[in-house]
């Protein structure tokens, strides 16, 4: 497929609006800190930043390289991020779904947050080359199937005209269809090969907003629950445990997949599980806070066909 450029001309106006709003909410005491994106040393690169003073608001930026889901800094796994008072956080729609999920799981309160929503034209799938142009080829797979370019329910969203998006391939849908067409043995071979690449760096776990357990099952050694070494048995156990833990919770930010240094298509597993949950329980991650997820509640009409 020919690669087309994605129009990102609205980014400058978005960045300016985010800076102005951050200045306002920090100076009038609405928030004690703002978590956003700042430029980094390499051309085009960005990094998360926590600012607490009005003077630092100028550091905030927005571009197609602002890939991080900043919700991770509001989880208890990131205890060291200053969290007193109300916190401003810059969110794209996919990131917002994660925050909504965390609210449902009693990890956060809406009133403790000030949500700065980003009208989103999509972000880069990889920042190995952070200055790369955003095109229909370099855009993140999650953005290809996103239907929520404007995050709802935020306290502030820059008002910009979102450009028409070029036609994008539905990569997850296509890949899930390809895998579903395989025999179980072929599918198992595919995942075995993918998991064999894992080096257990746990970047997938550390960037995931839903991996907030104070002690991960995989770190337990008294008794050891999962083989810790990066070998096929432990790798497979780890990724299956993770897929099951995230079923019905994963918001689809795809951070796990983006940060994997070994390029394991982790969000493909998450998308497949999300689809199962939609079919079985008519449940999917969205923008409404739910205090019960499909796998921790019971209804009489739940599918029970798996019990034989």
């Amino acid at each position: 497929m020919q690669s087309d450029t994605v129009d990102t001309s609205c980014h400058a106006a978005i960045a300016e609006a985010v800076r102005t709003e951050a200045r306002r909410i920090l100076s009038d005491g609405t928030v004690t800190a703002v978590i956003g994106y700042a430029a980094s040393r390499r051309k085009g690169s960005t990094q998360p930043i926590v600012i607490t003073s009005v003077d630092d608001a100028d550091k905030l930026i927005f571009s197609a390289a602002c890939v991080n889901n900043l919700a991770v800094y509001l989880t208890k796994a990131k205890k060291d991020v200053p969290r007193s008072g109300r916190i401003g956080v810059v969110v794209k729609s996919c990131d917002l779904k994660a925050l909504v999920g965390l609210m449902g799981e009693a990890q956060l309160k809406r009133e403790d947050l000030y949500l700065i929503g980003i009208p989103c034209t999509g972000v880069l799938g990889s920042v190995l080359q952070p200055a790369a142009l955003l095109t229909t080829a370099s855009i993140a797979s999650k953005c290809c199937e996103c239907t929520d370019r404007l995050p709802p329910g935020c306290d502030f969203v820059p008002s910009v005209q979102l450009p028409q998006q070029p036609r994008l391939e539905q990569r997850y849908t296509d890949e899930i269809a390809r895998l579903e067409a395989m025999s179980p043995a072929e599918r198992w071979e595919y995942w075995k090969e993918q998991f064999s690449k894992c080096i257990k760096c746990y970047a997938c776990r550390q960037v995931c907003p839903f991996c907030f357990c104070e002690q991960c099952l995989c770190d337990r050694n008294r008794p050891q629950m999962v083989e810790q070494t990066p070998r096929p048995a432990g790798n497979t156990a780890w990724h299956l445990v993770r897929a099951m833990h995230l079923a019905g919770r994963c918001a689809g930010c795809a951070e796990c997949e983006r940060v994997c240094p070994m390029d394991i298509p982790l969000n493909l597993l998450n998308r497949k599980m999300a689809r199962e949950l939609k079919e079985l329980f008519n449940s999917e991650a969205g923008f409404e806070v739910r205090d019960k997820g499909p796998l921790n509640s019971y209804q009489d009409d739940d599918d029970q066909s798996f019990i034989r």
Partner: protein, 335 residues
């Protein structure tokens, strides 16, 4: 000794090595990424891409068995892995930032304890380096005292020639022996120019000044501003050619299993978690501080060199964009 080899002879030499049953490891495409792996033919060798993981795994694998145990009745039988069984290996296409890390690791693995697993592999390996003709803005070898053609750690150094082929320079007895064994493949240098080398854009760091600041600033507010964003994964350490921390676990059942050594990382919360429950590096900035201190102070204090070769891999893979070259610039300005 200095020689020259044509592109065709270079490929033929590789195939001859493989035909003889020699194990040859070099950058090759493996799935979507390039890794240092055993080559099956000369055409497997990738010369224009830095492998995603470093060459350290040729000596210090991601995971290896140290011993095997079996329990029968009241008897426990242990069997050791014999390090002598490690195969003779030619490592080829090793980037200067990777090759330079090998002597850095030598010092650690032969200091208070001689790690036979590392040292036996090391003794059986000949390293053929390859000078870089391209770089990106994550590369900073020239900022930590190396260069895109630095022969440190290599037994033989290849530098691409204009029009194809390589200038070959031996750097050690192993390199001389290799040139002697395969002398028919090499020619005397005919004065052909070498290709223009890569030019990493980063200015040289004043590593002494950086170390001086680190000596005096174990406690400093800067650690919070630098590292609060760190999410505590091990990606940076795992792709680093010089990071060498490992853990050892027994895996298996009561009846039998294996003792294994595998990569660990100072970014992990668990890394310094004591059995008492106390964790001296309880917050992420303290863990990141250790990473910088180890590379630019502790290792220098102990072994007189820097534990970083500027390959830039940690910069490329950091989930949250932490850029070690940017961090060093910041520290240098303070010093």
């Amino acid at each position: 000794m200095q020689k020259q080899i044509t592109e065709a002879n270079f490929r033929l030499l590789l195939d001859s090595l493989l035909f003889k049953g020699q194990r040859v490891v070099g950058p090759r495409r493996s799935g979507g990424t390039v890794l240092y792996e055993p080559l099956a033919s000369a055409s497997d060798l990738v010369t224009d891409e830095l492998p995603r993981r470093s060459v350290k795994e040729a000596f210090f694998p991601v995971c290896e068995d140290l011993l095997e145990y079996r329990k029968e009745g009241q008897q426990v039988a242990l069997s050791d892995v014999t390090a002598e069984r490690f195969p003779e290996t030619v490592l080829i296409g090793v980037r200067p930032c990777d090759a330079a890390a090998v002597p850095v690791l030598d010092a650690v693995f032969s200091w208070d304890y001689k790690d036979q697993f590392f040292l036996e592999r090391r003794a059986r390996t000949t390293i053929i380096g390859l000078a870089c003709t391209s770089s990106d803005d994550a590369c900073f070898c020239s900022a930590v005292g190396l260069s895109p053609a630095d022969p440190k750690g290599a037994d033989l150094m290849l530098t691409p020639l204009v029009g194809g082929g390589f200038l070959v320079e031996s750097q050690s007895e192993k390199g001389e022996a290799f040139l002697e064994t395969w002398r028919d493949r090499f020619a005397e240098p005919d004065g052909t120019q070498t290709q223009a080398l890569a030019t990493p854009a980063t200015q040289p760091f004043d590593l002494k000044r950086i170390k001086a600041w680190l000596d005096d600033h174990f406690e400093d507010a800067a650690w919070d501003s630098i590292a609060t964003r760190c999410v505590g994964c091990g990606a940076c350490a795992f792709v680093c050619p010089a990071c060498h921390c490992f853990d050892i676990v027994d895996e298996g059942s009561e009846k039998g299993g294996k003792r294994r050594k595998f990569w660990d990382a100072c970014g992990f919360w668990k890394f310094t978690h004591h059995a008492s429950g106390h964790n001296p590096r309880d917050l992420q900035p303290k863990r990141y501080r250790n990473r910088i201190m180890h590379k630019f102070k502790y290792y220098d204090d102990k072994f007189g060199q820097t534990l970083c070769t500027g390959c830039g891999r940690c910069i490329r893979v950091c989930p949250v964009g932490i850029d070690i070259a940017g961090v060093l610039e910041e520290i240098q300005e303070k010093g």
